[in-house]
Amino acid sequence: MKQQGVSLSNKELLSMFEKMLLIRIFEDKIHALFAQKLIPGTTHVCQGQEAVSVGVISNLSKEDVITCTYRGHGHSLAKGIEPKKVMAEIFGKSTGCCKGKGGSMHITDLSVGALGSFAIVGAGIPVAAGAGLSFKYRHLNHAAVAFFGDGASNIGAFHEGVNFASVLKLPVVFVCENNLYGEYSPLMKTTSVPNIADRASAYGINGIVVDGNDVLEVYRVSKGAIDDARAGKGPTLIECKTYRQKGHSRTDPGKYRPDSEVREWMERDPIRLFGDYLRSNGIMDRSSEEAMSSRVNQVVEEAYQFALDSPYPSENELESNVYN
């Protein structure tokens, strides 16, 4: 890892590390709580993909917006939704960011520009294009980022949304998190090209492949694309090669993956890589790392306690927000 073409202060670098750590510890907690049957429904955790959400979103302001997927806890936390509101939502409590009416797959907080986790594959892509359209319409210097998986690049909404944004030259960045599996199926079994970024040429836009486990590379490449979007140069498709360390959802152990593949990717864990970089460059020492770790653990524990203590929604929520 190196900091080439990236000018981030030590404070900013540490803040990025802390966000990645928050996502990791949050997701580990969710995974454990789910195993204890304390969380209803289903959940899709994102351990191993933290460098993508944090690397991209570190370039965004509060006015910029994102759409993400059902594997969206990481993006939601990185964009600034309070951990306790995310946790309470996952528990189906009235204090959740969506009053418990959305759940793990629909984490949304418009007040921080998190337009939603879209649980239908690819559905957030045209919605991000629409947000980009609104920025262009109002001559605002903001950008919209759509996060989606490799599997989404095979669905119609991807094609329609990317073409639409390209034709109208909208300030949108399409970020594909290629974690090598669409649910249980390996990429090469379902996808006609080795690199999702190759598809960009079909839409007349730039496509860039980046090491999705290297947060500084993700930051650098997405900064260029976001700057281009703000400058009216239209969209970019960024493919972040990364790995889903857990299974697809709930209790899926992901046994369809070869052990050697899992081992190789675990060695390239994005938090380990970034931590090594920060330590070897004297940016983070053991005591500051421990302090950070205990701070993040406390935030997650408090979020858990908040979710536990919160009430379920009352009956008057059952039919509210339909069209009244």
Binding site: G96, I120, A129, G130, G132, L133, G156, N163, F164, Y323
Partner: protein, 333 residues
Amino acid sequence: MSSKVMSTININYRSAIRFALREEMKRDDRVFLLGEDIADAGGVFKVTEGLLSEFGPSRVIDTPISETAIVGAALGSALMGLTPIAEIMFSDFTAVAMDQIANQVAKYSYMSGGQAHVGVVIRAVSGGGISFSAQHSQSLEAWFAHTPGLISIMPSNPRDAKGLLKSAIRCGRPVMFFEHKALYPMEGLVPESEELIPIGKSEIRKEGEDLTLVGASSTVATCLEAASRLESNGIHSEVIDLRTLSPLDSKTILGSVEKTGRLIVVEEDVGFCGWGAEIAAQAADKSLYYLKSPVKRVSAPYAPIPFSPALEKMYMPSAEKVYAAAKLLVQGS
């Protein structure tokens, strides 16, 4: 209605819709249009003709043939505070965008705990009768009425088309606005001054005490024609124009049924699981003891719309069919 003192103009259904779009775009610069061939070409049915030159390409946007992108982009822009009006050239094409309409637009407010209400208006051209075959002629309103979160509007005449569309644009909620293609040339008097017709309120077009005919969009005229023939046979029917399918004005419909004791629902869509079934069920549930005869539906058979004009004529509801059903109900023969 105070039509006596109101100054009116005679325009067709198509122009009435265009007038509503123009007035709302002038009133509020957040309102914009997007759709296929709506700008340079002025729309396949010429509804948006002239609006490009008046409002420019940033507010009248030609899109690729991408219904999913059109509706998805409408949703995204609405979340950011704009008021998009998306045109779906034929309502049959909503099937292409069904995820965005039914899963995203309709559910956003609910699933987000009311963070946004999603002011998206989707104008969709519906209906048969002009031999456009099975993929350009359907009346699919029941699909949307069955999806909580969507308002569905079905105007039957120029005045309603204008006044309801203006209300739809201002309501800040997701609206499916169904324009019947065979009604575009229909002329009628429309107030010159601004009129907002309330959503969720049906209108009694003709009063009567022997039976209630309920229609929407194109079938309001069908009901009125049948009613006039019944009148000359001494049968006085009440004709209700639904105007809005969802939310349904059950109060007006059931109030009429309780007065007349007889109900025929006249709908252009397939009768099985159609919206007429919902009205019949409500009558059975809430007004059963007022009924003097079974509830009848005049609706399309359980088949796609045929192309051949001969078959399509048999398929569609008609004044003859309504007349025959009504005579049977009232006179028993």
